[in-house]
């Protein structure tokens, strides 16, 4: 079937099997390999992308066909030109990543988290990231990174 | 995933008729719930393809059934091994044909099922309730088909 998805502002139209998962559509049809796959039970969240700039979704638990006619934001679309998104800068500053495999999903989940809660407390952030697993960092520096991006680092909110 | 089951069916026909029924591979094959296809290999081996449908879980299971009749004790043991969904289910079921004395029969049965692979791992929570229903339904079919025969 024909699927047309706008990813990071670019329209991609491909002929794919209906069973093509959105994660593999982005990785193999659009060549955007920043979206990763880490599990088979919708648990790990390293496949999270943003749908229609208002929802963080696990792209391994959604068919590309469902995204036909919609907008998707992936990690490759975060920086504009040379300047990093504040969240990208914060993850770098706070050592919020080690192997980098969960980072794209963490960044995009945080985009929506901050959109709906501009200055979250530490527990708001820990609760908001609980759908994204990380095996390297133990989450502490990721939480600090989100606080830095939200401008609440070190502030007792 | 190791599941035990037991139960009783009261059948309004004589023990001899029941015994003839439960030792006939074709008849036993057709008692499998949601059976789609039955092929008898020999007097003690029959293959049945059953449709499994519980909530989102839908698909086919190919069951190989081996009949082990013990005429002296009027007891029939069934060894069932099934494959499907990349998984395997091994079941043993035994039934005693008991003469109720008034021309009718009591079929006392017990069964054990061991499930392996994705069906057990992921479907495990579905499986236990479903396996219980399947085995109960199978022996219910025996009663039903025999009741129709009279």
């Amino acid at each position: 079937m024909k699927v047309n998805v706008t990813v990071n502002g670019v329209a991609y139209e491909r002929e794919v099997e209906a069973r093509t998962l959105l994660a593999y559509f982005l990785r193999e049809e659009c060549g955007l390999t920043g979206t990763h796959v880490g599990c088979d039970t919708s648990s790990c969240g390293c496949c999270v992308v943003v749908l229609d700039s208002d929802k963080a979704v696990k792209s391994c638990s959604m068919f590309a066909a469902q995204a036909d006619g919609h907008q998707v934001l992936t990690v490759e679309g975060l920086a504009n030109g040379g300047t990093l998104h504040p969240l990208q800068q914060a993850f770098w500053d706070q050592h919020g990543l080690q192997c980098g495999y969960c980072t794209p999903g963490m960044l995009l989940t945080s985009i929506i988290l901050l959109k709906h809660n501009p200055n979250p407390s530490e527990s708001d952030i820990r609760e908001g990231l609980a759908g994204n697993l990380c095996r390297c960092t133990g989450y502490q520096n990721i939480v600090k990174a989100v606080q830095q991006a939200a401008g609440t680092l070190g502030v007792q909110v | 995933m190791n599941l035990q089951y037991s139960g009783e069916e009261r059948i309004p026909v004589s023990p001899d008729v029941v015994w003839a029924f439960v030792t006939d591979p074709d008849k036993v094959g057709h008692c499998m719930p949601e059976v789609i296809d039955v092929t008898v290999q020999d007097p003690t081996h029959v293959e049945a393809v059953v449709q499994v449908a519980v909530g989102p879980v839908r698909g086919k299971f190919k069951l190989k059934v081996e009949l082990q009749p013990d005429p002296a004790r009027r007891r029939i043991d069934l060894k069932i091994s099934g494959g499907g969904f990349g998984s395997a289910v091994d079941m043993t079921a035994g039934a005693d044909v008991v003469d109720a004395g008034d021309g009718t029969t009591i079929l006392k049965w017990s069964g054990q099922a061991v499930a392996r692979g994705p069906v057990a791992a992921v479907g495990g929570r579905v499986l236990d309730a479903q396996a219980q229903k399947l085995i109960t339904q199978a022996f219910g079919n025996v009663r039903q088909q025999l009741s129709l025969a009279t």
């Binding site: 209906a18 969240g45 959604m62 068919f63 990231l129 759908g131 | 909530g55 989102p56």
Partner: protein, 292 residues
């Protein structure tokens, strides 16, 4: 990891969706949030021949109070409830609690309440909450839509009153008076795990402080979510007290019939059911300004 092949149909209205379901019957499955269905398809445990995607059926995207009920359409997301402005009103405190512990914060942005009810997992959260809140599900069949009490809707594990070719359009939670509050207490090994045990309660008080109406239900305590009638009867008409609450908890423990699994033994889960009902009742009462 990769589902079996199927035909994808996008329904732009619920009528269109219903027509597809009538045509394909048992071979078709509704795709709303897909957060339980798609993983089952990836393990090839579920292999529908046809998927009817209702995410574009905007007439099902309903989340509003109309008249005496909160209408939740088939594609209203868990996160829509979590973020709704009116959710902080204490009469919706049970619904609010559940919307914050269902699955995980990302899955909640696609997962739907109605989808969860239709999936009817023994350890589902919305099923137990719907029992406590005495919700009704609107099911559309050949001869039109009918409202099914949640008690009749939940039939068995993964089995509901939605027949072949039929579809659930929405669920309605009765709008309670302002002397109503609830609570949802859930124990899970980690965020995203199925409940080890969970208790949903909703209480409405009379002016004199006695309990006018009580809803008490358990998740992960049987083939599907279960109402604890004995506890409800015990509570109705009474003045809240520590002994009453403990008795209701004991009734819940007696009623709980869980399965042993990696999350815990039967003995542990049965006891936990009682503990959580007590905690949920205390929390609901404290939300009503009553200490017991």
């Amino acid at each position: 990891m990769i589902p079996a092949a199927f035909t994808y149909l996008r329904a732009h209205t619920s009528d269109e969706a219903f027509a597809h379901l009538q045509q394909y019957g048992a071979e078709a499955r509704v795709l709303a949030g897909g957060q339980s269905l798609i993983p089952a398809m990836r393990f090839r445990l579920a292999r529908p021949a046809v998927l009817v995607d209702i995410n574009a059926s905007s007439d099902l995207n309903v989340l509003r109070v109309n008249g005496n009920a909160l209408a939740v359409g088939a594609i209203a997301r868990d996160s829509d409830i979590e973020r709704a402005p009116w959710i902080t009103d204490r009469r919706w405190s049970l619904i609010r609690d559940v919307s914050r512990v269902v699955a995980d914060p990302v899955v909640r942005q696609m997962g739907t309440v109605v989808g969860s009810l239709c999936h009817n997992d023994p350890a589902g959260d919305w099923t137990a909450a719907s029992l406590a809140a005495r919700a009704e599900v609107t099911v559309r069949g050949k001869d039109g839509a009918r409202d099914v009490k949640i008690d009749d809707f939940l039939v068995d594990s993964f089995t509901t009153a939605v027949g072949e070719g039929e579809m659930a359009l929405g669920v309605h939670f009765p709008v309670a008076d302002d002397r109503t509050a609830g609570a949802y207490q859930k124990v899970e090994r980690k965020v995203g795990d199925f409940a080890t045990a969970a208790a949903a309660v909703q209480l409405s008080l009379n002016a004199d402080g006695t309990i006018r109406e009580a809803g008490v239900a358990l998740s992960a305590a049987g083939p599907c979510a279960v109402r604890v009638d004995e506890a409800e009867q015990m509570l109705r008409g009474q003045r809240p007290s520590a002994e009453l609450i403990r008795a209701a908890g004991d009734a819940a423990s007696r009623r709980s019939a869980p399965q042993a699994d990696l999350r815990g033994s039967v003995e542990y889960k049965k006891n936990l059911a009682g503990v959580l009902v007590v905690r949920a009742l205390r929390q609901a009462l404290s939300r009503l300004g009553v200490q017991a």
